[in-house]
């Protein structure tokens, strides 16, 4: 009982315990903040990684595989599969209106089914919005007004078409269009804190930045260059085609937003010679007539080369972030593919070599890198926290030394060693708990306002720690995980208990007379 009385008295009559509590608070806050930001980073990375790839991908890169319609039909017949869509992924060059050429990942997608399998539609940037972005103090975002236009552009983006102004009559013409990552064109200049002002601006040759009237590249066209290959994997001549820009997308992952261009599947198939083609016999189509002249004849058709795609993306019915759910779906897809490969033996890649990847597999390098980084940073910060534990220990050592005479008195009036040590354990726990609660408060405040704080630092001190170019995301992500918080807070309390108990045990082991004489 006296333990409670003393703990209460000691806590309320000295500055030292408050200092110790503050040390605990700062340490727990630091570790929670780091863990939350790194954890949030990981969650956001995983989410963004999933946005455009669906749950499971069947992949046969470069040359692609045929009969994908049949595979999709079979996949969609499975009760666990929500939808599947064919895509082509290839690398190519994009020629931009200002004369720049950039290497990009070019994805041919079938708008309607692609939007069903992925969250593509939600990443489209040019669409009508009702509320301005938090940073858009003067509501300058052009998407706020002229909703009819933006609805058109949004719909066009989803289907990868650009509605051209009617030249004759009043029927708008549809042309296959490209959807660019928001950072591809260079017309959307992101503020340092990661916000697109909405008003697209172009970098002038002299280095200045000027607003441009159209949000989509000036004449609305980009040139896509790809290198087609035949079904044996041999390169044919480079093919270039001009596309009007239908829309732009913003996934939040800088790597993707900077390096990806979507075009309609049919166009890309055409360019890559992956569309349906008639096979003719070699030498047929040309004949020598009686006069010894070459003449064209009808070629001998010996078969048909079916259309090909490099990927089929699958979305499961249950939306889950667990890798296990995706793994289960991948197994199912594997079974379906095995039967498919058997039925089309010789015409599609064998089931032993086809690649069936979950969203996690596809982003493994990135996710693992961030996981490792999180572990490393946590390790370092825990190490830093060790310093704090020693600080707490030192403070307690000083406090217990100062109170050794009290310990002697308590022992003299009959308090047991364990009772006295218990007093200090309670004292340590109380300080630890106080520190942990305050620390959690600080961490909560910082984590939930981290972007505001970052911006404030940027405005007042010109300090931008978070460069969206380096960190994939335009906003600092955070994820206050209950388990992590509990672990850190318990660690803080435990450290305080240990810090208090050690010197207290030392003092309690002294004979009462020695403790009384202790100076």
């Amino acid at each position: 009982m006296y333990q409670f009385l003393l703990t209460h008295r000691y806590l309320t009559s000295k500055v030292m315990p408050l200092l110790a509590a503050l040390a605990v608070a700062l340490c727990t806050a630091m570790v929670i903040i780091v863990w939350s930001v790194m954890g949030g980073f990981l969650v956001m990375l995983i989410n963004s990684g999933r946005t455009l790839v669906g749950d499971v991908t069947v992949s046969w890169p470069i040359t692609g595989f045929a009969h994908y319609e049949e595979l999709i039909k079979r996949l969609e017949a499975d009760p666990d599969v929500a939808a599947a869509t064919p895509t082509i992924e290839t690398y190519g060059l994009i020629g931009l209106p200002d004369g720049r050429t950039e290497t990009v990942m070019i994805k041919g997608v079938d708008g309607p089914s692609y939007t069903e399998v992925t969250d593509f539609a939600s990443t489209l940037h040019w669409k009508p919005i009702d509320k301005p972005h938090a940073k858009d103090t003067f509501s300058e975002d052009p998407r706020l007004a002229n909703h009819t236009l933006w609805n058109f552009v949004f719909e066009g983006g989803k289907r990868l078409v650009r509605f051209e102004k009617p030249e004759r009559g009043n029927v708008a013409a549809e042309k296959p269009g490209a959807v660019l990552g928001i950072s591809v064109s260079g017309f959307n200049i992101r503020e340092q804190w990661g916000f697109y002002p909405g008003q697209a601006r172009a970098r002038q040759p002299d280095g200045t930045v000027k607003p441009v009237q159209t949000i989509l590249p000036v004449d609305g066209n980009v040139t896509i260059n790809v290198l087609p290959m035949d079904s044996k994997g041999r390169a044919v001549d480079m093919v270039a085609r001009s596309f009007p820009v239908a829309n732009e997308f913003h996934s939040g992952l800088y790597e993707i937003d900077h390096k990806t261009v979507f075009v309609p599947l049919a166009s890309l198939q055409d360019m890559l010679k992956m569309n349906r083609a008639t096979k003719v016999a070699t030498g047929s189509g040309v004949a020598i007539n009686e006069k010894g002249e070459e003449v064209f004849t009808a070629p001998t058709v010996i078969g048909e080369d079916p259309a090909r795609v490099t990927n089929v993306l699958v979305r499961g019915k249950t939306q889950s972030f667990e890798s296990a759910a995706a793994d289960k779906l991948a197994d199912k897809v594997g079974v379906i593919y095995r039967q498919f490969a058997k039925d089309f033996e010789g015409q599609v890649p064998p089931s032993t070599s086809i690649r069936i990847l979950t969203w996690e597999d596809q982003n493994r390098t990135m996710i693992n890198a961030v996981r490792k980084e999180t572990a490393l940073v946590l390790f370092i910060f825990s190490f830093v926290s060790m310093t704090a534990v020693f600080l707490v220990l030192a403070i307690f050592w000083a406090m217990v030394s100062e109170k050794t005479k009290d310990i002697g008195i308590l022992r003299a009036i009959g308090a047991s060693r364990t009772g006295v040590a218990g007093t200090w354990l309670l004292y340590g726990a109380a300080i630890g708990l106080l520190g942990a609660v305050v620390g959690f408060g600080i961490a909560y405040g910082v984590v939930t306002n981290i972007n505001a704080i970052h911006e404030w630092l940027g405005e007042k001190l010109g300090l931008y720690i978070w460069d969206p170019k380096v960190y994939y995301f335009s906003r600092i992500p955070s994820d206050l995980n209950a388990t992590h918080v509990t672990i850190v807070l318990a660690g803080g309390v435990l450290a305080s208990c240990v810090g208090a108990l050690w010197p207290a045990l030392r003092a309690a082991r002294m004979s009462p007379v020695r403790a009384l004489r202790f100076e």
Partner: protein, 243 residues
């Protein structure tokens, strides 16, 4: 001399030795002390400064450990109620300090953070479990207040030790020593730090307690203080001088 001198001994120290180790140097302070304290007796241990009075009293109060007996020194013991303090476990020794003796120090040794009343009740708390204290806290407080009233501090219950005079602090210490109704009250120079008048009032308090039946052992270097006792034991160079 009162009848108490014929009562049975509550405490019997036989051949008690205490040697301090100062680096390589062994400093024998007590060289085989024999002393009896009978129930209801008021004994004064008189000796010059440095003669080992405090050391002896600490051993009797279970605050420090006497030397273990060796073959050259012969058997040693401090018997209390059939137990030998020298051989008692730490736990039992705590129990002894908690319930059987009350100790009054020359320098009061109060807990500065606690009020006068809490300084007294805390000794009662150590002797009770949490539940027991919780159920009896009213009684304990009343008893402690009554004791403080008896030592003349009924009006200072909520003051801090720092706000009290030396004599008042010593009264608090006496009340604390008595709160668990000890069989034995040990006091080490209880008036050593006080002026003559204040000291005398403290000694009056001891005399009153003694009259009420309390067994008391007081350590002093002052003949006048010793004169209050039933019996005076003289300590010279670490042993008791035959009277």
């Amino acid at each position: 001399m009162t009848a108490a001198t014929t009562n049975p001994a509550v405490l019997r120290a036989t051949n008690v030795r205490k040697t301090y180790q100062l680096g390589r140097l062994r400093v024998p302070v007590l060289r085989g002390v024999n002393i009896d304290v009978r129930r209801g007796e008021f004994v004064a241990i008189l000796g010059a400064s440095g003669s080992g009075k405090s050391t002896l009293l600490h051993l009797l109060g279970g605050l420090d450990a006497a030397d273990k007996a060796t073959t050259d020194t012969g058997p040693a013991s401090i018997e209390f109620d059939g137990n030998d303090l020298i051989r008692l476990s730490t736990g039992r020794l705590d129990e002894y300090r908690r319930r059987r003796v009350g100790f009054v120090f020359q320098f009061y040794h109060l807990l500065p953070e606690l009020t006068v009343l809490q300084n007294v009740t805390i000794a009662a708390m150590t002797a009770m479990g949490k539940l027991e204290y919780w159920s009896k806290r009213g009684e304990v407080r009343a008893h402690a207040s009554a004791l403080l009233e008896r030592v003349g501090l009924g009006h200072r219950l909520l003051h801090r030790p720092a706000e009290l005079s030396g004599g008042e602090r010593q009264r608090v210490a006496i009340a604390r020593a008595l709160v668990n109704k000890p069989d034995l009250l040990l006091a080490d120079e209880p008036t050593g730090n006080l002026d003559r008048v204040t000291g005398a009032s403290i000694l009056d308090l001891f005399t009153d307690l003694h009259k009420a039946g309390q067994t008391i052992v007081v350590v002093t270097h002052d003949e006048a203080t010793a004169a209050r006792a039933d019996r005076v034991v003289r300590l010279v160079d670490g042993s008791v001088q035959p009277s």
